[in-house]
Symmetry: C2
Subunit: 251 residues, 2 copies
């Protein structure tokens, strides 16, 4: 079956969507078949890819439309199940179930995910029944961690919440901690990176540097590889893809 990776952290603005979109599109460029699932009411994965979806994950889970009218071909080998405000309706459906609500996503996604090499899930900040659903579906978790004290505190709290899920889902594990917004000229940035490495050494990926190109690309609906292929942002996300695909020869 596919590798299923949640890109998640309760703390806001740490680079979840930027990572989910550039990871998914980079894997597609490298030749893999990728499904990107946006589970955030903000719907920013679609925005970053320059697509305006008419329907998405909500309509898929509720069987409101056939799959070919919902799943968007965002790029070659990259498919998207969009998020957005309609997900509020999906949360109500999940909440109303007396039991098994946490399996809602898993039950539906497992009917379509076999055709993909990777399923990447973007998630909303905070903690809610939809994030719990994501953690009952995936095997692997990647947490983007911006190099600031408030984010470290958010990581500690998130890992406590995740461990309560792991009692019931033995298959889900934190696999990658991705430092983001690394600014080598800022002493604090390096100090927090050192602290992360001392606490979680074996999970830490090569950091994504702060690179303004990453924040500009969404204005054009382009991935970083389209917008600024030579930029530090593009280099760093290619390095992440090599690590995740366990293939240093990619790109």
């Amino acid at each position: 079956g596919p590798r299923k990776i949640a890109v998640t952290l309760s703390k806001g603005g740490v680079g979840k969507t930027t990572t989910a979109v550039n990871l998914a599109s980079g894997l597609a460029l490298a030749g893999f078949n990728v499904l990107l699932v946006d589970t955030d009411t903000q719907g920013q994965s679609s925005f970053m890819l320059g697509v305006k979806p008419q329907a998405g994950l909500t309509e898929f889970v509720n069987d409101e439309l056939p799959l070919d009218e919902i799943m968007i071909k965002a790029r070659d080998r990259l498919w998207l199940l969009a998020g957005g405000k309609s997900l509020a309706g999906l949360k109500r459906v999940i909440d109303r179930k007396d039991f098994g609500g946490e399996m809602t996503l898993r039950e539906k996604l497992s009917t379509i995910d076999k055709q993909f090499d990777y399923v990447i899930l973007d998630t909303s900040p905070g903690w809610d029944p939809l994030i719990v659903n994501v953690l009952f579906y995936v095997d692997e978790v990647l947490t983007p961690v911006s190099l600031e004290v408030m984010t470290l505190q958010g990581l500690v709290e998130f890992l406590k919440s995740m461990s309560s899920i792991q009692k019931y889902n033995k298959d889900v594990a934190l696999k990658y901690i991705l430092p983001t917004f690394h600014d080598k000229r800022v002493k604090k940035s390096n100090a927090i990176l050192k602290k992360l490495e001392s606490l979680y050494g074996d999970h830490i990926c090569t950091p994504i540097r702060y690179n303004v190109r990453l924040s500009e690309a969404p204005a054009y609906g382009q991935t970083i590889y389209e917008f600024a292929p030579g930029s530090p942002g593009a280099q760093d996300y290619r390095e992440l893809i090599r690590k995740i695909a366990d293939n240093p020869k990619l790109f």
Copy 2:
């Protein structure tokens, strides 16, 4: 009664908590009596002030403890009703009501807020029943807006959601748009500031500059005025207090 101000935006990591805490503590320094209410399950307002609460907003709304065992004196003239994971329980209480759930916060806070000059509310990213509760309680909304395309998109979506609340609460209005993370050397930063000013001119406050001191202060549980009183971050938040208190002579 008190001025009631929500510091809120659905987009993550734009400076809501940094603003709520430094606004509340700055108003207290200026001589006002301030209640800071943290409605976020992340509970980061307490963390930034260096306090470890045993109880907070959840226990207050559910009448589990007397007020003097819940409300924390965080600084002179600054009181705190803490957030944190127990707020998940409060959300369930709100959801289970057949009607009037959106008034839960207002009913409880209005029993204690008369003794304050200001009630400042920190909010979680995203959109959920607790944020709706906040918008049915306050009269004024302040949105911190980091100067990036993804945040602009989040602002547009947030204002649509807020307008649906305004149909039912005639008293709540967007009063302040606070640009954050302003980096004058970055062309994009200035361009987005110009765009904000053209769209929302009369609401725009003097921007808060990017200043690493603001991200370091939480490590010591200090406000920016305690940690780095001469820093650009302290200067910019003092300017915000002058604007909000409508008194250019403060500080």
